[in-house]
């Protein structure tokens, strides 16, 4: 009795008792499906986080003011001189009403220094970012975030048109892409000089972006910046600080730890559900061996060896479990597709997930099928034939 025939026999067995087979496979289906979907969600979320972090630019540290007078231009100038700092860029934030045609929104005004585009590397969908040459820093030009553009009713032809910020006309030179963090929020970017002269008249800064010379330099630069600010602002306790320092690498580490924990959790769920599914299969196989005792006796009588009986029942358990795994995989992939549409990340079928899901399903079939199959093969032909 070759394996192919045994396999076909197993399939016809499973097909003959669809409801029972389906219920038996349910544990494996749910287990594999849940793990495949959760893994995809984890990977998608990770990818989304990576993308938005990458878009912030490499080796960055951001110092944000936590009070209206927390950071000054002199701080930025001093930080630019700290060892390991490649460049700094400053932002002043305020809010204003932006109007275009009949549309009008309340927008965040981000006044950025010329080095901003170099440092933060925003993705521009249309046009270009703000001019960087010193002579144009007082120009009335504006770059609109994707969401802002959407709300204001921009079309491709809007480039070069004017929008009004609290009544002052600005020429639209660019629209940002919404694929990364820049797309979110109804923000408009203008030069810092323009922002200061029109919206944010105080000499204080909202935030300072710092780019370190290398990835290794991020931590020491962060330390030095913190020491400098503590000293220059006279901060003794952390609670008194007028600023907060945000390090992208540290965030990435935190996220990695979280995703690592999540992966362990998913593996745990997978392990438990596969064991539960396997016990279900073992249970039904033991019932099956009992129900088919006479058949086993007949097969032994017409010349089946113990090993051939063992193979038949083991095959049946493995086919049940692999079939369950396959159905779980398909359901899991469909769910991941749904999540990817909802979450806005790319859907892809990970070959590792497929391989691991199928491999573990087969393993469960073997592990939990061996005992029933051995029970079947060890039946004495005489007893099996006499069994009522």
């Amino acid at each position: 009795m070759n394996l192919w025939l045994t396999f076909r026999l197993s399939l016809s067995r499973i097909a003959a008792a669809k409801v029972r087979s389906g219920l038996t496979m349910l544990g494996i289906i749910i287990g594999v499906g849940a793990v495949v979907a959760l893994t995809a969600v984890g990977q998608g979320a990770q990818q989304g986080i990576d993308d938005s972090l990458a878009s912030l630019g490499a080796n960055q540290i951001t110092v944000s003011s936590t009070t209206t007078t927390g950071l000054e231009e002199v701080d930025a100038e001093a930080i630019a001189g700290i060892e390991g700092v490649l460049q700094v860029s400053t932002q002043v934030n305020s809010r204003a009403t932006a109007s275009y045609g009949s549309e009008s929104i309340f927008a965040g005004i981000v006044g950025v220094s010329p080095s901003y585009s170099d440092l933060a590397n925003p993705d521009v969908a249309l046009g270009s970012f703000l001019p960087t040459s010193p002579g144009l820093q007082n120009s009335r030009t504006v770059v609109v975030s994707a969401e802002g553009a959407d709300k204001l009713g921009f079309t491709e032809a809007s480039l070069g048109d004017s929008i009004r910020l609290d009544g002052v006309a600005f020429t639209v030179v660019g629209v940002l892409d919404d694929a990364d963090g820049f797309g979110a929020g109804s923000n408009v970017y203008i030069t810092q000089e323009a922002a200061r002269s029109l919206f944010s008249k105080s000499p204080y800064l909202s935030s300072i972006s710092i780019q370190a010379v290398s990835e290794e330099a991020v931590a020491p630069v962060e330390y030095r910046v913190e020491q400098f600010l503590r000293y220059s602002k006279g901060v003794d306790n952390d609670e008194d600080a007028t600023y907060s320092i945000f390090n992208q690498a540290a965030l990435q580490d935190t996220i990695k730890t979280v995703t690592g924990t999540l992966a362990i959790l998913i593996t745990g769920i997978a392990g438990i559900s596969l064991v539960v599914g396997g016990v279900g299969i073992m249970n039904i196989m033991l019932v099956s061996v009992r129900e088919r005792t006479r058949e086993i006796g007949v097969r032994r009588a017409i010349g089946a060896r113990q090993s051939q009986i063992l193979t038949q029942f083991l095959m049946e358990a493995v086919v049940l479990s692999v079939l369950g795994g396959l159905i779980g995989l398909i359901i899991g992939q469909l769910a991941s597709y749904g999540f990817s549409v909802l979450g806005g990340w790319d859907f892809f079928i990970d070959p590792t997930t497929v391989g691991v899901a199928m491999g573990f399903s087969a393993l469960v079939g073997v592990v939990f099928g061996v005992w029933p199959a051995r029970t079947a093969s060890k039946l004495q032909p005489v007893d099996a034939l006499r069994f009522e």
Binding site: M1, N2, W4, L5, L9, S12, R13, A16, R292, R294, E295, V298, R299, R300, A301, I302, G303, A304, R305, Q306, Q308, P381, V382, L385
Partner: protein, 234 residues
């Protein structure tokens, strides 16, 4: 090759039920030669089923020797016993015992597949055997679509397909109506006329009458061994 298909010499078989050993066969010696048609006749509890199990290589004796087609089965392990059974014995059961979810042709092919024959060849031989027994138009029917008589003919095809030394039939007409039963007995007679060795186990004297030799068994012992036509039967 020996002319003696079955050789039993002072065979004893007892079962342990609780603390008391039950003697199923006390002391049985018999021989069946190639080409014989023997009925083993006895009431239930006489030990005839135990005798069938021993002749069919399904069981080993507690004492004495059992030789089937020249193989002393008391010394064989399970795999060797299976090999002898596979080669030397063709079983026909009372309840037909066709394999479930399996077509007639696949049922008949099964013993050949267990012997390791290739599926295509096994199917060819199985189909030929079924055709010879008049079931050529029902090769793909499973047991649910066959009458009792047809099922038993499939079972007989399955017993014959390996060309065994001995066909061992246990109450082969027990689950059939009179006319189907008679047809099956005719088939056994024809098979014997072709030179097949047949051992039939039955409690039914009318069925036993078809055999050329009858061994009466009672209380684990041979009561009578009778050759030739039965008294009172045609």
């Amino acid at each position: 090759m020996t002319d003696r298909v079955v050789e039993l010499s002072h065979v004893r078989r007892e079962y342990q039920t609780g603390d008391v050993p039950t003697v199923a066969l006390a002391d049985v010696s018999l021989e069946v030669r190639r080409g014989e048609f023997v009925a083993i006749v006895g009431p239930s509890g006489s030990g005839k089923s135990t005798l069938m199990n021993l002749i069919g290589c399904l069981d080993r004796p507690s004492a004495g020797t059992v030789k089937i087609a020249g193989n002393d089965i008391s010394t064989l392990d399970d795999n060797q016993l299976t090999a002898v059974r596979s080669k030397a014995i063709g079983f026909v059961f009372q309840q037909f015992q066709l394999l479930p979810l399996t077509s007639a042709v696949d049922n008949v092919a099964a013993p050949l597949l267990y012997q390791g024959l290739r599926p295509r060849e096994a199917q060819k031989r199985a189909a030929a055997m079924l055709t010879r027994l008049g079931l050529g138009d029902r090769l793909d029917f499973d047991r649910g679509r066959l009458s009792g008589g047809q099922q038993q003919r499939v079972a007989i095809s399955r017993a014959l397909v390996t060309n065994p030394d001995l066909v061992l039939a246990d109450e082969p007409t027990g689950a059939l109506d009179t006319s189907s039963g008679a047809a099956v007995m005719e088939l056994f007679k024809e098979m014997n006329a072709e030179g097949r060795t047949i051992v039939l186990i039955t409690h039914d004297l009318d069925v036993a009458a078809a055999a050329k030799r009858r061994i009466y068994i009672r209380d684990g012992l041979i009561e009578r061994d009778e050759v030739g036509s039965m008294a009172g039967a045609q």
